[in-house]
Symmetry: D4
Subunit: 249 residues, 8 copies
């Protein structure tokens, strides 16, 4: 149960539009629910502001659907990441209104209660076109968490003037996510120009000595611009959650 | 020149307590200054809210003092990190009022204009006593950047009830920095309990397969609790700057 | 020849239900048998309590069947791990009663003499649903070795209360196997809560900086909870054998 | 408070030799105690059978003494590992009867209540003479935890007959700890010969491509003998705790 | 041109069965021959006792055939390693009498002049059945280089008595190649038992922390048995060439 | 806009063959152009002498075509590297005269204005036939940048006389690119023989401990012949650009 | 013998100022000279334009002096790199006019014949003050090889305007060496701004996940700016030799 | 007991110069002897042709002396490797005639019975002067094992003609040991020129990306010259034992 829904429920009790017994039923659900292969954390939304997101990799379509049904039954929206095409097809068939984003590899079922809007906007910057799937995972996740989004694509440091020409976008953002593979140098440059928190996402874009994203990961961890923090390689989802935590504070 | 000082300067011009010419002199300083071996970024404070911090490792005491003198001359406070005992002694002799923190390996010269206070407090959590030097570097840095501090020490997951017993501290913080070596597991547990941004700092505490901090670094990057971001091994300084960016937003 | 079968044989000789010559024939088999491409260790069951288990990866179906036939001919049960679908199909056709577990990737032919039951139960805990194949390999193996099993699934530290709510299961077990990928932090938390031996199995579940299971492997090797021992990545089989050695002591 | 002491306390109340108020005082101590830089887990002994052991590396002598005094005040014995000579000297001066083992790098203050004796003996096997410091850390720890000890030194596989000649020692043990650096091959050979649990400890003994113990660590994790579990490089302490958990079950 | 063929040519000139002009033609060929994409080293056989062997990986079938035709035209036998099925089919169609060994992934066209026989036999020992492809590559190569072969399969250290039972084979060999994956421990044990040169070949057999053969590679490089030398992972070919160099000395 | 075209434009204005307004239109194009998923750097040719080259990996055929159309519209030639067969087919259909090189994995659309010719020739040396795709990527790129090319293939150090026999080619070149996998030793030998700049390209050719090109990469970085510089594994493109920068100086 | 000296010698013979016999003596020296522990390559200067440079690390002062004396005896200048203080003191005592640069860790004895001057200047850019020792090694070496030098210090990307403000220096250089530790991002930015060859030198400046220079090394190898080539970590010497090869072409 | 001494003993019994009882006493010694901290393998000399060599690293001087005394008491010579100065001093005091080689870090006590001489000579080739300590360890060991030695120093591939000029030394050797750090390329070049077995020893000479010898280790394992085998980094001892096994066959 998301905090917005809980607040709404209590407000409806307060103004008499919902009977106490009905509210009790909604709240009576166990905080965790066991499916044998999964233990769903229904109170995560209350505790942390968003429901458990389903990590699709390594799960069968049947397992994903079963978990998603239990989450949806609590009235929260559902977000599945790292979902392959086969599982996405099953989800779209099962949940009316489910939206499949093939680039981001996500399936989203929106909640009827829209999330509270964050106080400032999130800017997602990418170094190259090949980084877009990770950026898109971040964008879908951030949207599901109530963040307003700006995008600035393909402004890697090989042509630094592309970034400098859009500096006003860096100044306007509340948080900046920088998505970059290969040398990952964009994060340091953005970190040196911006005042706001910068979250760096290394991607596995590249070849040879990029070692599946180790190169930009190390670049970002060693950023000479202080205040840059880093998430796992290709982890657009995690970056968006961190950004949302900041923007909702 | 820190933003606070610039604002103060302009306010004094506005109320007549400072002549226009005096203000002009203060602002006329070049944004960068070259010492041959260093190019000081005097506008960093205006751009990012804090002056350039001097990374002491690999610099001679003479180089550190020369840079510190140029920064101090602009009226901003000075912070030197990773300073060894020899360089610290020289700094303390050179700058009256300089404070040497041997655990944090920092020397700080406070500015006459105190930094603006952040909107919420920062909680620094450590897994073990051996992680304190890194936590202390974070604490000194955060203090210099205007953050109020809480500390929770030695609550690693080998005795998880030590953390659970102080859960109210997690709930009260605006940002949490988790400092942990060895298995680094504390960051995930805190990330799962807290609502606010969690910045994880892996430390080089440990031996054998901790590989100088790689083990907790990887643990933290792979945190199953979403929203945890990570900085370099032993980088208490960077974590504090990131926290300050969040808390000053 | 398993110890149980040897003991049974001797008992039947003692009570006259088996002639000495029949028993001699059964015992006369060579301790090792060469198939050219394999040297079967028929005395492993007598020496270590369980017959040689066939590691299916890298072997042709024909090789697996040939080895399995020689082991089965000694009256011991047969267990094949890491078996792909093609080989499993051949095995199920060849051995009546063979059980294929697609999740665990095992084929088991039960012995007519059931194994001795262990003195306490084994608890297999998993951090996430994607860790189940490894947990299932452990479960099938442990069952074949006479262990009673309990399971606790999907209780990773991102929602630590899921584990704390089932703490009585940790207290009741004789040995605990913790199966976790990503940050692998669950092993340390369980190790800090339990009194009994804890065997940690890192899994290759994850992406990016999990490096195919290196991240949880290092986490577990550096566990700040003393008394946690570790097996190879995805090695559910090895963890179960170690657990059985402990439980049969 | 160790379980033995708690049981003793209750027995003395039961037989009238201790007044209820005296017992209450002993039990009234907080389960955790904060020293600012440390949070002592006084209930670890009750929960897991042995008090918190102090990891000496990275702590000042003053910190070690302060923690040790608090643990000793609860009547439990004290064990400090990875202690350097300077800290050891201070400890020996502070605690009458403290025993410093320079090879093992441990300081031990025995409890007045001896620990319960384990049901079977522990055999510590080393591959070479240079592995002795790690083996000795295991031996001291195991002794402190109530284990009876046997030792078999310098029987590495370069001369396999040295091990085969003492095979009866493998058969007599309840648990075997194998300590080996360089190729670490001894663990697999012992694992193939023994029936009981085998805990392998890789050491940093070696040079070049042993990479500070990575080589034997990988050897042991990939042991072709099932049932071998592994602890961190040079972690004699952890191996002993795991062995004690098994032997006390 | 192999040394045997050169010697035969000269002998036939000496006894008058070959005219000087015919011999001159045979010797007149250039030592290297350029095909644009390849520069064939025709004198390698004279210099080192065997013709250039074609490494099939990364070459098109057309390239392999073109190179093989030039080598065959010089009357030397042809050996292609790491050949895939498609290229093997083309080679078998092109060269009458070509032998394809699917396990070893080799195609061999024997020379009409058999190679000189080595002074002692080569023993190829494997730890497990899954190591056979690498062992077979070694066997085919060694055969092509005139070595007599013995094989001892599946005698890994998990059941050390399988090896000890065949110790006379170790004593009879002139050189021993040990092929092992996983823990690679067999090489050290054989190195400690044998008097003759031992060449260790790590294989990529295994999973998880075997890291594609790094684990046995490191084990073998750190062998506590002196006198063991090592070749690249899965390099049965290289081990056989080294063995042949020794046996032909 | 390439420098040659800009110079040509200005010359035509100077001699009256192009009206000022026409020239203005050509120059008026924005230096960068945003396609949403890409920000094209149209001034790169003016700034660095060649237009932006499209890195094909990780882009959809649609994205590649859209970018290529914008670059082609500026009258510059187009070069796409790391292009797969599907995308190549679309490009060849879209751009008349486009040349697909399957070995080099490139598609090139030549500019109507040929690039200025470099002052000396580039020699591309390969160690083995399997290194040709990388060498070919370098050759196509260098050709597009106006370099004259010489090739020397399959002269690895296993037969060093193949290289020594062609030493005059090393002496005649203005820059040498050495492409080698496996041991990568050729770069050091060439670096020791040549006077001119040597650019080393490690390739992923090899297996086992070549680790996808790490082995030759490290060899080349540690070259005992001074003056050898290195690019990323398999980066024929980058080596060619660096060579062209040198040859056009 | 450097090429300049050989040319001078021949010119003096041509104009009669040197007798043929005197010239013969000078040329008669063996191209290599053996000292037992060293084989000096006296023709390297003729072949490659500069004499053998002595790598001081791992050599005793006696060995360095002995080699230096043999090189000096040929009239070429002497350069020793990676020299420690003790060896430097001995060298300065032995060779009158020897110059010790403690920052660069070099000792240089200039030749009486100054080296030919390069056609354009070399710009050495450093990211931070701690990178100066490596930059200085490059500067001393380049000077010894006849390069004119410009320096731009401490312009790392944390304050990118420091670099942009000096862009005319990038435009004026013939070759640029970029020296950077930590994130190494400066190389990509310079590579994107400059037209001329850029040689990147990663340094071991940094801590934690910089892994002694691996982080900037990988950054530079993966530079998204084409045309950047890389040398070994801290290899200022090699970068300078490569630059000199380019500038003397 | 070395084979030579055993043969001598039996010969003296055969010719009556030694009484049967005296011979019995000599032979009656146990094959292994336990010192508590060491288990000496006295039959290693009989089994493998040379007595147990003492690896000095990680042993106290007292332990080394105690082991050496037991080996010496059996009449075999003693060899200690990796011995530091302190231990060497004690050994030289204890054993009259002991020879300390500071470069090789060895102490040798020669046996009264000289070892049998090998059938051909061993050539030790080094790439640079800094590789001498490892080469010297190989030389001392080989001498102790009865090998005749030739040396060729400082002929690395940066000046390949230094090696080519001494090619007759390669042709004359029975086995070649190549000792090289940095790029390790010399092993491949020698492997391509020689007919005899080549044993490559990577050294830790170098810096930066040589990673303490990993670079030359990988170069050598990936040698494109077949027939090169490799030992551990800096393992001159192991290379010499392998060479002696070959030369004594």
């Amino acid at each position: 149960m998301r905090r917005e829904r809980a607040r709404d429920l209590l407000a409806r009790v307060a103004d008499g539009s919902l009977a106490v017994d009905g509210a009790l039923d909604a709240l009576a659900a166990e905080p965790t629910e066991s499916l044998g292969f999964a233990t769903i954390d229904h109170h995560r939304a209350l505790r942390q502001g968003f429901p458990e997101v389903i990590y699709g990799a390594g799960k069968t379509p049947e397992q994903i659907v079963a978990i998603a049904e239990r989450i949806a039954a609590h009235g929260d929206g559902v977000l599945v990441t790292r979902v392959n095409e086969a599982a996405a097809a099953v989800l779209v068939r099962t949940f009316p209104g489910a939206e499949y984003n093939a680039t981001a590899r996500t399936v989203q079922v929106r909640s009827s209660t829209p999330p509270a809007l964050a106080r400032a906007s999130l800017l997602v910057v990418t170094a190259g076109t090949s980084d877009l799937p990770v950026a898109e995972e971040a964008a879908v996740t951030a949207g599901a968490l109530g963040c307003r989004l700006e995008r600035l694509a393909d402004v890697g440091v090989a042509g630094i003037h592309r970034l400098l020409a859009r500096r006003e976008m860096l100044d306007a953002a509340g948080v900046i996510i920088v998505v970059a593979g290969m040398d990952g140098a964009l994060a340091s440059v953005v970190g040196g120009l911006a005042r706001v928190p910068v979250i760096a996402v290394p991607t596995s874009v590249g070849y040879g000595a990029s070692f599946g994203g180790i190169a930009p990961l190390l670049t970002m961890l060693n950023s000479c611009a202080a205040g840059v923090t880093v998430v796992n390689i290709d982890n657009g989802f995690g970056a968006a959650v961190a950004a949302a935590r900041i923007l909702h504070a």
